[in-house]
């Protein structure tokens, strides 16, 4: 395992040098908040941030993605037959991804990469991406990664992890992908004991700072139908506007919609993010809608994250504790509060 120390200037220079080998996605200040954007010489990476507004899931799983293309008509023998769109699967790296967001990819992976089917776009994008994490020295008050099996310096799901030690960065390679990334990067020197000790202390103190953590273990023992019929859903759902903010900002929400778009004789089949908050999500052709009411949709979202996923994969909840939905829900529906209610029911 490589452990190297970089000054902050060296680090940025090192990243610049990697631009030939990787498309680098780095946090950039964009208006009021940060976003992961390709490092292209114009945008200055800014690693002094709490977390990006949108999760980096869009690097691997874009908001809208062209899947197939085709031509229409009768003249061409190839007409009406779908062809896979060509895609760039060259190496990418997300530098500065928070451990919670990296863990989220592991959660989502169980959906997109399973023994029966593999989603060709998600899997190839994921496999070509190196995740270089940045530990959280100062977790937010809305963070609860420790409650869902993560932590501010959690290594699972990352290929390399960066510790911000004030003046310098310590970077640890964690997987082959991470080691390859480090091997290509210029600068830095091997880490000494003192630095490693500092990183350890930082890890311990950061975890201490996470105060809100509803336990998620009791969820497993509950019965789906009991929770489903619990009386608190009406109250939880009252304020909900049924907008897609929570699902679109969430790093672990993966639901999508497939749409065909045609212009003249050419068409595309496009995949867009979708949200279980929208009534259209489950509307049948017949007009029947099994989740017609707001309360059913809100219940679906929380049950999916905190119960169905738990039962289906037996691998924790479908939440990485990033706290985005807590902060940005316009009506302040707090997943921690819902989790407590489910625990106590």
């Amino acid at each position: 395992m490589t452990e190297r120390v970089y000054t902050k200037e060296e680090w940025i220079r090192g990243l610049e040098g990697l631009r030939e080998d990787y498309t680098l996605f780095v946090p950039v200040k964009d208006g009021d908040f940060h976003a992961f954007m390709p490092m292209n010489g114009e945008k200055v990476p800014d690693f002094d941030f709490q977390n990006t507004r949108l999760s980096p899931k869009s690097v691997i799983y874009p908001r809208s993605e062209r899947l197939f293309e085709y031509i229409l008509g009768n003249a061409d023998p190839e007409a009406n037959i779908l062809k896979e769109s060509s895609k760039d699967f060259s190496p990418r790296a997300i530098v500065g991804i928070r451990p919670c967001d990296a863990q989220a990819f592991q959660i989502v992976r169980r959906n997109f990469d399973n023994p029966e089917y593999r989603d060709p776009w998600w899997v190839r994008h994921f496999e070509s991406t190196t995740l270089v994490g940045l530990g959280c020295n100062e977790p937010c008050s809305t963070c609860f990664c420790t409650a869902v099996g993560g932590g501010p310096f959690h290594e699972d799901g990352l290929d390399a992890l960066v510790f911000d030690l004030g003046e310098r960065y310590l970077i640890k390679g964690l997987t082959d992908k991470g080691e390859a990334f480090l091997a290509k990067m210029n600068g830095g020197k091997p880490a000494d004991e003192a630095v490693l000790k500092a990183a350890e202390d930082l890890t311990a103190s950061a975890s201490q700072k996470i105060t809100s953590s509803p336990p998620t273990d009791p969820l497993k023992g509950k019965k789906i139908n009991d929770l489903f019929n619990a009386p608190f859903w009406e109250e939880v759902a009252f304020g909900c506007l049924n907008c897609g903010t929570c699902t679109y900002l969430c790093p672990t929400c993966w639901c999508f919609d497939v749409q065909d778009e045609v212009l003249g004789k050419e068409g595309d089949r496009i995949r867009n993010w979708d949200s279980c908050m929208f009534p259209l999500f489950t509307l049948h052709g017949s007009g029947h809608n099994p989740r017609d009411k707001k309360v059913q949709r809100v219940r679906q979202r929380f049950m999916h994250k905190l119960k169905y996923y738990v039962d289906k994969y037996d691998n924790g909840v479908q939440c990485s504790g990033c706290g985005r939905c807590v902060r940005y829900c316009p009506v302040n529906i707090d997943i921690r509060d819902v989790c407590e209610r489910m625990n106590n029911y």
Binding site: D30, G31, D32, F33, F49, Q50, R53, L54, R63, S64, E138, C140, S141, T142, F238, G239, L241, N242, C243, G244, T245, T247, Y248, L249, D257, Q259, E261, I270, N272, W273, S275, F278, P279, L280, V326, R327, Y328, C329, P330, V331, N332, I333, D334, R336, D337
Partner: protein, 316 residues
Amino acid sequence: MLRYTEKIQETAKRLLQEKRVDAFIGYGKGSVPMMNQPLMVSDPDRVDRLYWDNFCGLNLCNYLTKRTDKVGIVANGCNSRNIVTHIIENQIKRDQLYIVGIPCEGMIDHRAVMRAVKQKEILDIQQNGKTFVVKGADFEETFEKEKFLQSNCAVCIHRNPVIYDELLGDLVEEQTGVSPYQDVEKVEAMDPEKKQGFFTRLISRCIRCYACRNACPLCYCPTCFVDESRPQWVGKSSDPTDTLTFHFLRAYHCAGRCTDCGACERVCPMGISMRQFTKKLNKDCQELFSWEAGLTLDQRPPLDVYRPDDYNDFIK
């Protein structure tokens, strides 16, 4: 503004006990600073969850649409104007409502506060009349409320509720001398190409989560035009033209009905200022029809009626 909390609780308790209403809709204190939660209370013993402060910017009218029971609701200026619009548009009946009016002094823009503390994490906010104190892990700063109003509140000239059954507190003095349409005028002065650039940039961040549409009390159509598939008016991807079409038509559907309550901007997770669309229409309504939405129950909105003296210069 905090002083209203107790009064709201008392009023709600009384109304529920006297069975004047089946439920009472107000705000509850949120679990994170600067976020409040719309709340419905039907048990008189649980009114202590009701709350009021400078962050009650979400429009409660959303929760009135097509209700059949009797409800009490807190209403400041813009809430009350939307209640009027709802009544005119037959979304709820006047006699179902018990409106508890609250003279409003403007809501604080949480984004501006976050900007002022350089996006550092805010742990607590204390509101003391004209100032408020923001506390974080390693800082504490005092700000003047006046400078941090939501942009729609800063130019609001209808702070007092226009319709109510009971008023909590004294009416506040309305602002005068504000010029509400400065930003619209700035855009109007641009040439078409500049305008195109301005709006393309404005909505470039949009992720089509429809929070603006859903937070808008005017958007209650059973099927929104973006969801229609036959014909499909607008594509569902994040394509810029589709996004622009969505914002354009959403705004247009609010023409003559928008009360500039600011809910759309407040809820936008990407911080898009979509009032740039609706305000232009508000300005046109003001100039062409001398109309502001939601001020009276006796008149239908201008795009709803025909009058022989309607402006028609644009017709050849």
